[in-house]
Amino acid sequence: MITVESVTKTYGGFKAVDDVSFVAQPGRVTGFLGPNGAGKTTTMRIMVGLTVPTHGQVRIGGHLYRDIPNPGRHVGVLLDASAQHAGRTGREILTIAAKTMGLPLSRVDEMLDLVALSDAEAKRRLRNYSLGMKQRLGIAQALLGDPSVLILDEPANGLDPAGIRWMRTLLKGYADRGGTVLLSSHLLNEVELIADEMILIGHGRIVAQGDKKSLLAMDTNVSTLVMSLDNQRLAEALQQKGYTVAPEGEGLRVSCTTEEVGRVALEAQVVLTDLRSGAAGLEDLFLELTSDTQRDVIPQGAPA
């Protein structure tokens, strides 16, 4: 379990992390989401004692990180897969970590197998690694000490689609066995599929947290997208019931639930060909919540 207790970090006058509190539970994958520069990495660095917070503290399994003896055996950390001596081979990097933690060298081979780095790749120097290979090596290093807590900063960065799927399965299995997994990302779809719980951060502040369902429930504008064989008649029937109807694409957007649209269509005897919730997806929500921290504004009415 990771407990972040009102952590604030200021650099000069700039608040990189502003009163952040959340809990990452064991047995769950917690996604830490936010645009670039939102304070994800700083928060994670504070967790492992690399950065000293201005206020607040982080407890991992009830302890401050610096009080955990041989922390590699309890907490697996991947902050930056490139932060390694470029002149060392992959195998040597894992060997150093294994020796520090007091692990047998057979563990290095086990981890290389797990992350699917071949023997030849493990003998290459880090400067010749692709970003995806560095990420695999970083994940191997984080898992080396068989920790019960994993803290991974943008672990999917640079992985190919097969690699991302591989990592999802790996982390899911890890959480199912009772481990605590916290992973950050700036890509929602990367996290959406795997995270049981999501923490959304923007501008150093937490803007929303919860599981996918409760996050979606934050969107209070009920709307439905519908297509039918006779949109004209369906629209009239819906308008008679007092709902707002607007054409959207080849169908209609209606201001009520999918159930209600279904009933109206049944009464009006119109055949529906497509019926789904028109609520903003997580991505829209994510962009809306963090909009004041986005660097790029999506121009309105721009061609798709």
Partner: protein, 267 residues
């Protein structure tokens, strides 16, 4: 919000032993030698010793081919380059950014500093022993080219001129490395300290008699000269000069450097 669950039991850390210092130090020693830069630099220092001593064996007058002469020259070669080996060991944590891993695996940074000191001294000792062996070879070569060497060794030469001077160099390397935390910067800084500073002080001393008297008190290289020249036995006043200039150029930078390393944010 997620359903509130009972607070899970804290992680049990009572069964985990902290990383012992011996393990940290041996890992640091490994890190000094497991990169091409570290390995080849160490190898090059010894190769340079061999070349210099071979040339000396062939070129020096036969009366100056004692073991002590060879050892003194080997020590001088080491004196220039050992600190750079230490600089690379310390600054790579920041320059190559592997400090991120080092200090997450051992968040008690002062222990890593001590481990690096131990590894640095062990490495220096190893190189010194090998250099002494090369000095033996050089002396044998000197015999072959007509010398009748005195194999006797003065304690002062061995301890002051060879060991102490080089250990001081190692610590200087540490201090500069931790202060600058940048490999090229620290190497340039080290050469400025060891080559340019003494020349500047020498020029000033030749211009001003007053400065000449003050120089050994405030310039560490000048103060150390008695360690590896003459009878390798500094006088009481010379020891005092080593102490005073050592505080200025070694103790203060070392303290500031350790303070910086303990506090700096490894990014």
């Amino acid at each position: 919000m997620s359903a509130t669950t009972a607070a899970p039991a804290p992680i049990d850390i009572t069964g985990t032993a902290p990383v012992p210092m011996s393990r940290l130090a041996s890992v640091e020693l490994r890190k000094a030698l497991d990169t091409r830069a570290g390995r080849w630099f160490t190898f090059s220092i010894l190769a340079l010793c061999l070349v210099v001593l071979t040339i000396y064996a062939l070129a020096a007058p036969d009366t100056d081919k004692d073991f002590g002469d060879f050892l003194g020259i080997a020590g001088a070669v080491l004196g220039y380059f050992l600190p750079i080996l230490i600089i690379m060991l310390v600054t790579s944590e920041q320059s190559q950014r592997n400090g991120l891993v080092t200090f997450t695996l051992e968040p008690r940074r002062s222990r890593v500093v001590v481990a690096k000191f131990i590894a640095g001294i062990a490495l220096a000792a190893g190189v010194m022993v090998l250099a002494a062996v090369i000095a033996v070879l050089g002396t044998v070569l000197g015999t072959a080219t007509g010398g009748t060497p005195d194999w006797g060794l003065e304690w002062n030469l061995l301890f002051n001129g060879f060991v102490l001077a080089n250990v001081i160099g190692v610590f200087i390397g540490f201090a500069i490395a931790m202060l600058l935390m940048n490999t090229p910067g620290a190497i340039v800084g080290y050469f400025a300290y060891s080559l340019i500073l003494p020349i500047a002080v020498g020029i000033l001393s030749s211009l001003s008699e007053g400065f000449e008297k003050v120089a050994p008190w405030i310039e560490f290289n000048t103060a150390q000269t008695p360690l590896f020249t003459g009878d390798y036995q500094p006088t009481g006043e010379e020891w005092a000069q080593i102490l005073v200039s050592g505080i200025i150029w070694l103790v203060v930078p070392l303290a500031l450097g350790i303070g910086r390393l303990l506090r700096t944010e490894f990014k």
